[in-house]
């Protein structure tokens, strides 16, 4: 019975195996990034980015029609432009990251809509650009795997300056130029993950598995590496359980995975070790010293 529910679907159907591989790869790349996003108060950047990439995709569409490669490339360029401009403005002016990102992505979205309407057709470009985890072909699987690998490697490289820059930016500024580089590299990494994630898996999954696991991890660990591990584990579990759920019921795959992830999040809010609600209501007795 359990075997049937939990294992059989993956043995029987190749698309299920591919979906599972994709969600594991996504978790490895997106979850750590999500932890940093959350700590730097940038959790809404995913949604902003989903809109910000439109002019790039539109130009790709204008030049090559419904060519996924051209549109993704265009989307990446637009995403980089918005992220880097927003990052530079946030570093060098009084405007903080949330406001500078919001202003740039809105401008970008408006530009994108204008470009699309110039062409005359009303194809929902973004709809075309956004993929589905059940449709993993070889090329897309490679993209997702590449993402994850690239992310892990780059994160390992910029880890130290990124951490310092997040907790005490002034300090890093006075001792090194690495802060700006780390910050902008991180933003670029976010864009790559998001755009490739959109194209492979759709916005809900790409953004959702970045942010929700990070939120969940907050309630179980007080320490950065612990948070990252828990976030990755939580994302993988959500992916697996979500796929099983989507297989047994009529819930679409993306939403199913995110619903499980959200469920884990709610459980964590209530029962988490670190400031979970239940812990706060029923605290353990205090110590001697």
């Amino acid at each position: 019975m359990i075997y049937d529910a939990l294992i059989a679907p993956f043995i029987e159907f190749e698309f299920m195996r591919r979906a599972l591989a994709a969600v594991v790869a996504l978790s490895l790349g997106a979850a750590p990034i999500g932890v940093f996003l959350m700590l730097r108060r940038m959790s809404l950047v995913g949604d902003a980015m989903a809109h910000a990439i439109l002019p790039g995709a539109a130009v790709g569409f204008l030049l090559s029609g419904l060519n996924l490669f051209a549109m993704t490339a265009g989307g990446l360029i637009a995403g980089f432009a918005v992220a880097l401009l927003a990052g530079l403005v946030a570093r060098n002016t009084d405007l903080k990251e949330d406001a500078s990102l919001a202003t740039f992505y809105l401008a970008s979205l408006a530009l994108g809509v204008t470009i699309v309407s110039v062409k005359g057709t009303n194809i929902d470009l973004l709809h075309v650009l956004f993929g589905n985890i059940l449709a993993m072909d070889d090329q897309t699987l490679l993209v997702v795997a590449f993402n994850a690998t690239l992310t892990l490697i780059v994160l390992a490289v910029i880890y130290r300056p990124l951490v310092i820059e997040s907790v005490d930016p002034l300090f890093l500024r006075t001792v090194s130029r690495a802060g700006a580089l780390a910050h902008l590299t991180f933003l670029a990494l976010v864009v790559v993950n998001l755009v490739n994630g959109f194209q492979a898996l759709g916005t809900l999954l790409a953004v959702g598995l970045m942010i929700l696991p990070a939120g969940t991890a907050r309630f179980w660990s007080r320490e950065l590496t612990g948070m990252i591990s828990i976030a990755v584990a939580s994302a993988i579990i959500s992916g697996y359980a979500g796929l099983v759920l989507s297989f047994q019921t009529r819930i679409p795959s993306g939403p199913a995975i995110i619903l499980v992830s959200a469920g884990l999040y709610v459980v964590s809010i209530l029962f988490g070790n670190v400031r979970g609600v239940v812990r706060q209501l029923f605290p353990a007795p205090h110590l001697e010293a």
Partner: protein, 252 residues
């Protein structure tokens, strides 16, 4: 002795209002200089200009060719994200940036240095505490420990003993004196005149502009202090362009 720092007629401020007005002078290498003055005198602003965070409105500050990573700066109120999940040990460990850079391993030696630094500021046993759990004074001592580790040639401390009890400030002052013995250049902005008279050979009395600069005993006279107190704290929105500047350009 060669000059570590040279202030060349420097004016620093915000929105065209000068917080430090036409300051000139030299700080010798290895000096132990106290910077004192009433609130709003421009001490913090001066330090910000010194470490490169604030660009001068006029004039310049020369740092004798030392690089940014040779300067350790302890700001008055750091914009530190206390909710970030990092331990005291790791936070203080970032002071080893010069050695470790992006990748350098934090080996046994490094760990020992961190432990030592924590002990020197009285924070032994705090290694694994999250920085969010520290009191104000403990935070300040932690930042001090980081400065210790930075092993810098120029150390700039902005009101370092705020929120610290007398015993600890005595301990920390001993560290400052040790730095002086190690021929590092130290500047400290302070309010405690007794401390200044007891430990700092040189003082700059600042009240927007230089009131007096030199040996502490000669600077901290009743006369000078009264003059400094007469400085007006607020910016004047109706002020005209700087007379000194316009005179100078007329002369030129």
């Amino acid at each position: 002795m060669s000059a570590q720092l040279q202030f060349r007629d420097v004016t620093l401020g915000y929105d065209r209002h000068p917080a430090v007005h036409h300051l000139s002078g030299d700080v010798a290498t290895g000096a132990l200089l106290a910077v004192v003055g009433p609130n709003g005198a421009g001490k913090s602003t001066l330090f910000r200009g010194l470490v490169g965070i604030l660009k001068p409105l006029a004039g310049s500050i020369l740092t004798g060719g030392i690089a940014a990573r040779d300067i350790a700066y302890l700001p008055q109120s750091a914009d530190i994200d206390r909710s970030f999940p990092i331990s005291v040990f790791d936070f203080v460990g970032t002071g080893l940036w010069r050695q470790t850079g992006f990748f350098g391993g934090v080996g046994k030696e490094a760990r020992a240095s961190v432990a030592q630094a924590l002990a020197a500021v009285g924070l032994s046993g705090f290694e694994n505490r999250g920085i969010g759990t520290l009191s104000g004074g403990q935070m300040q001592r932690m930042l001090f420990a980081r400065v210790l580790l930075q092993d810098a040639r120029l150390i700039v401390l902005d009101e370092p003993f705020n929120a610290i009890d007398t015993k600890t400030s005595a301990d920390l002052m001993a560290l400052v004196e040790q730095w002086h013995e190690e021929k590092r250049t130290v500047l400290a902005a302070l309010h405690d005149m007794d401390l200044v008279r007891a430990h700092f050979p040189e003082t700059l009395l600042l009240a927007r502009g230089k009131v007096a600069w030199g040996a502490t005993a000669e600077v901290l006279t009743a006369e000078n202090l009264a003059e400094a107190r007469r400085m007006c704290e607020a910016f004047d929105d109706s002020a005209t362009a700087c007379a000194v500047d316009t005179d100078a350009s007329k002369a030129a």
